[in-house]
Structure formats: structure tokens, C-alpha cells
Symmetry: C3
Subunit: 278 residues, 3 copies
């Protein structure tokens, strides 16, 4: 599988041009929309409860992101998620800052209870919080520290597998090494660059990209997760090389990352992906 | 008129520096604000019902955009729109994704009933939906397909003219060829590049730019629409040339587009605009 | 103090990597998040009343921004602000468009009454409105005119000092010359470039940056204000030089500004800052 997993991902995505409904925070919504277009998908951003179900029904996947959550958006998420489940459309969860408040944690558990997710993507704090049921991160973006060190990779791997078992979702735990886990098996992806933490919303964007791949591979969330994470990681590496060469900074890093995704090809993915199986 | 329509647009806009009130979606609000500044106008973004009328009364034009619509924002739109009508300020409508849900369609019809619009800008699906009164687009951004082919240009032209007749607004139907229609006459604008569909919010941005021109030419919505559409189209062409030359991608495309608008001059508009009258 | 004020600002900020909670508008939220990361801080964006206090309690500073204000966000601001005061965390106010509506003015006064601010940053209209208690700006961003001329610098200086006396906050009045005032003393900063007015949200971004410095110098709001304003001004100058050299426009200006902040060092700040004391 490792050998064929990188075949025909972008080609199919661009051919099918699926619609991805995002119910997401207002901080990175623009980046999520643009990265979906860069990948070859159409973003559909709508978060009002009264239209959420109908919008989802017209799309090919649903991405739920807990950033800047409030009760109105939560209500739209629940309705849209249930409808997506009924229609057998893939649903993804990005539990942004789930450990930062009791409110967000409660919302996340309600979502996990009422909706079946194909993929859950978060950093170590967020995934640990979902697994243990109590918050551990100081703030919404606090968890970079957790994921960055690599010292606690064993724990991360264990947590991801357990959460996969509990939820039935593929878990994507991003950090220095990305961990992509099902209940019984784990893949490690060693692409990306630490500087990507300096761009707001790389996590949100990755979840959206995986959503786009899920839309065209609805039965293969693992493949979608790996393809998405590899595309983001490799684009981050390319972007970092560019800003070093040109002595640029973090705003240019984001531009190059997005540019790179928009020019990404399956061949490059296959060539540069550093994927290993546990 | 075709000969003088490109005189003194940017010059006047930059001289007068009008205030444009946008009640708009959170996905592309930043881009709309920045493109208004790039044109020479001041963006005023405010969407709470309690202040909407007063804010509009202090501005020179109002742009209403249906992306990420909800009841709170709709209420602000209706109040602000009525006040703008009372003050004889131009009001523009961008019916983003109007065919994607019954809720949005109903909202659009309520707006059309209660407010007089100077300009309505949308893609083929959106304009068709407003004309026919039933949704046709799969998702919010689904309509690129419609506008891109050029095969149904006759239908597009007919629909635009009819909607212009029904509403009294100038209709800007964007696609491979932009159609700018009043009840009895139609202009075609062949600027722009297909790659612009890869940037989230080019439509929203165009409506904002037309709003800026309406603010300084309140009695000439047709001129404002043509100037705005030409400025965006030509900037898109310049931006596309740049990313090809430099092997960049879609994020750079947006940067170049915005840069180009900020440096646009009337002479260049006149030189490069591909405008024909039906 | 002028001599040591530029020592160790960025170094400490990047070492401590504080969390800055922003309750802010959706137009420039992404830019605020990215500039905080560029500085070395972690942005925490959350605006729902139910979690606002808890989020603030996990952070090192709170930035309140009145853009796209509504009652829900206002309620979060008041709760978070009070909690921050109780925890002795610095709280900053950006009174965006405070003169543009009675609603916003009333909200600002309620905030000033219930919360102690360390720093208030606005343009001349906004600061004048807060001082006089009545609106003077035509629209949200109208005040550039006020700050740009330099003819009314004496009045600006007086107003800033008086407001500082009234509120106990350091006042940062941005314009052609930035005025940074306490009750009894005033500093002038002559960095920056007029073209920065062409980027939406430079004011919001500056307030966020000052918030980051306040987070690591909670007892020195004056130092935080000067360091932040100097960093933004100098980055604006560098960015303007770049777009002139490369014949770029306003979108590139923003990219270069953000890049420059991400590469800013204390030595450069000290070297280029044009700070004088009254």
C-alpha cells in the first residue's frame, strides 16, 4: 500500500473538483478556501444552522473546525454532520484548541457522540485532550511545544491509535513527525518544516486539504490523510527553501506554501514523501 | 460612450477617496477591504444591525454580499439598504451561492423586494437563480462551470437583460466573458483569465471595486460596472503573466492581482480593455 | 530610558513566546494572528462569551478590538477584560471606528468604565472621540486624514495626554508621527510610511504587536508601546523600500511588512527608531 498510496491523488482531485463544505473559524477561513482551490477542490463556506444541512447535502465532504466556536456555529455543525453521515459523506474534525476551555471540550465531545468522523486532525495536546477527556493545553495554539520535541513520540503514537479505536476515525496527529493512525496500524510522515508553525492556520489548512482528498476517496480516509499531510509537508519544505534562498520571512512562507500546493503533482509527492509504517 | 467610459475613473476615485460600507462574509472580508484601499477607496466593514444604518449614512456606497449569511447579518443588510435608498446612495448586491440553499434564496428575494440595487454581480448560476427564482448551483462556488464554457452565452445574455429589466439594476454576469447588462443593452468584456477562479473571492472583490466606482459615479452604475470589471480583468491578466514568468502559483496570483489594482491607471484600462457592445 | 528602551525586546518576546488572547474583528483577525506569530507570540483567537474568561486566564495578555463589533463579542470582551484585570494581565484596547456609530461609542465607554487598560491605540479621530465622548469620524477608517497631516500635532498630543490621565492607560495615537503618551510625558516616533494606510488592519496589527510586548513586559506598557510602534514603523519603511525597488503594489507591501517583522531584531530597532521625548 505504501507504494501505491501516492498514485493519482492530485490527478483525481483536479479531475473531479469536489465541493468541500467547511464550517470553520473566521481567522483562517480565507486560507482554507484558497488552499482548497489550490488543490483542485471548491470551497463552500457556510455556517448558519438554517442552511447548513442543505449546503452539506450539495457537497462531497464536510470539514468541521472548532476555532472561534460559538453556539450558533456548533448548532450548524451538528446538523450538517448528521446529514453528512446520513448521506455517507466523509466528515472531518479539527478540534482547534479543544483543551483551552471547558466549553470547547464539551462541544467536541458532543460532536464525537453525535457524528461519525472519517478523519480527526490535531496536534498532540488536542489529540490527547480528546483521548483523555480533560484539557491540557494552555491556550488554543499552545500545543506546538508538545508536537515539536519528538521526545514523547511513543505516547503520541499510543494516544492516536487509542483515539482511532474509540472513534473509528483515522487520526492525524501533526508535529515534527506526523502520526497517521488507525486502530491497529500507524504511519509516520517526516515531511514539513518547523517554520510552518509560524503561519496561522497550517493545521486548519491541512484538515481542509485532507477533506478534499476524502471527497474523492470517501472509502479511503487513510489514503486521503497521508496524501494531504504529505502535500502540506512537502509544500512547507519547498516554501522554507525559498524563503531561505531569498531572505524572506513568514508571510512569504505562506505564499510559497500555497503556491507549491497549487503546483503540486503526484510524481513530486511520491518522490519526496518520507512515509514509514510502524 | 464606449470611447469615454474609460476616462478619469481611477483618477476620480483616488481624488474623492469615498467610503464604501461592506456587509459581507468573513471569508473574503479582508480581501475586499484591501482591494478597496488598493483602488483608492476606504473600506468600512460593519455588520451589526444596531449600527448598520448609521454606518451606511456616513458612507458613499453600500455593498451587500450573501456569503456566510445569517439572520443577524441579513437584518443589518435590510436596515442599511433601506437607509442607503433613502439617502440615494448606490447599493450593490453580490448574491454569493444564492442557489445553494432555500434560506439564501429567500433572503435574496427579500432583499430584492425591499431594496433598490444599482448593480447586481454574480456568476451564471447566481444570476439565473435570481431570475428564475429557483436554485441551480450545487454549492456556493459551483457556478464557475457555467460561466467558463462560453457555450451558453446567449442564454446568459438574455437572463442578464431580463433580470436588469425586472430589478432596475445593472447586471454584471462574470465568466469567461463578462456580460454587463441593462434592460435594453449589453456590453461584453473579454478581459481576465481563467486562473482567477483559483483565488477565493475574486467575485466578492469585483463587487467591492464596482461599489467604489459607484460611490464616485452614483448616477452611472453602468460605467462603474464596466470600469470595475475591466480593472479586475486586466489585473488578472497581468497577474497571470507574472506567475507564468516566475513559475509561481495561485497565492502569488492574488498578490499580483491586488498589486496591479493598486497601480492601475486610467490609461492602462483604456488601452487593454476588450469591451464590445451587443 | 530612551537609551535602554530598545534593548532585549524581541529577544525576550521570542524566548518567552507568550499567549495573546485577541477578541477582534473578522476582517483582520488572520493578519493579527500571523503578525503575533511573526513577532514570537502565540495568537489565541476566541470570542464566545462562554469561554472568554477561561481562555484569557490561560493567556499572558488580552487585546480587545472594536472592529465588526456586536453584542455577543462585546459580552465576551467585558467578561475577559474583567478576568484579565483580576489576574493582573495587561489588557489593550483598539477602538476601531469608535466615532462611526453611537453603538460603538457606547460600547467603548462601557469597556472603559468596567476594565482597566494598559494601552489604548487608535488614530486621531478615535482617540479624540474617546476623549471628547462624541464621534468625529465619518466612517470606520476615516481618520487617516486626521493623523496624516501633522498640522494638528499639538492638539493630538494634548488629547493623548489627557486621555492617558483619564484612563491610566498609555495612549498610542498613530499617524504620520506616532504619539505615545502617559499623563505627564509624551514620546514621538517618526518611523513608518504613509503607504501603510493602504493595508487594511495595520492599526489592528500594531495593537496586537504591542499586546505581545505587554505580555512579556506587563509592568512596562510604555516600553511595550514604543517597541511595538517602532517595530511596525520600521517594518513599514523596509516594506515600502522593497515595493519601490521592485515596482510592486500594496499586497506585496503587506507581505514585506510581515516578513520584516518576522526577521526583526533588537539591534535594527535601536538603529532605526526615530524616537524623541517631548
Amino acid at each position: 500500500m505504501v507504494h501505491t498510496i501516492f498514485e493519482e491523488n492530485f490527478r483525481r482531485l483536479r479531475e473531479r473538483a469536489p465541493h468541500v463544505h467547511c464550517i470553520t473559524n473566521y481567522v483562517t477561513a480565507n486560507d482554507c478556501a484558497n488552499i482548497l482551490l489550490a488543490c483542485g477542490a471548491y470551497p463552500v463556506m457556510a455556517d448558519f444552522w438554517e442552511e447548513a444541512e442543505e449546503i452539506t447535502a450539495g457537497c462531497d465532504a464536510l470539514v468541521i473546525n472548532l476555532g472561534t466556536l460559538n453556539d450558533n456555529r456548533l448548532s450548524a455543525m451538528i446538523r450538517a454532520g448528521k446529514r453528512a453521515n446520513a448521506l455517507r459523506l466523509p466528515v472531518l474534525l479539527d478540534p482547534v484548541g479543544v483543551g483551552a476551555s471547558a466549553y470547547r471540550l464539551k462541544a467536541a465531545f458532543r460532536l464525537l457522540e453525535e457524528i461519525d468522523f472519517s478523519v480527526i486532525r490535531g496536534n498532540l495536546s488536542e489529540i490527547k485532550t480528546l483521548y483523555k477527556g480533560t484539557g491540557s493545553s494552555k491556550g488554543v495554539d499552545a500545543a506546538q511545544e508538545d508536537g515539536g520535541t519528538g521526545t514523547n513520540q511513543e505516547e503520541a503514537c499510543f494516544t492516536a491509535k487509542e483515539l482511532a479505536g474509540k472513534t473509528g476515525a483515522v487520526i492525524v496527529l501533526t508535529g515534527e513527525t506526523d502520526i497517521i493512525a488507525e486502530k491497529e496500524r500507524v504511519f509516520y510522515l517526516r515531511n514539513g518544516h518547523a517554520s510552518m508553525c509560524k503561519i496561522a492556520g497550517t493545521g486548519c489548512m491541512l484538515t481542509a486539504v485532507i477533506g478534499a482528498f476524502c471527497a474523492v476517496f470517501p472509502e479511503e480516509p487513510l489514503r486521503a490523510a497521508i496524501a494531504g499531510a504529505a502535500a502540506m509537508g512537502i509544500s512547507g519544505e519547498i516554501a522554507y527553501e525559498k524563503i531561505m534562498e531569498r531572505k524572506e520571512g513568514t508571510a512569504s512562507l505562506k505564499i510559497h506554501l500555497m503556491d507549491s500546493i497549487s503546483n503540486m503533482e503526484d510524481e513530486r509527492l511520491k518522490e519526496r514523501a518520507l512515509l514509514t509504517k510502524n
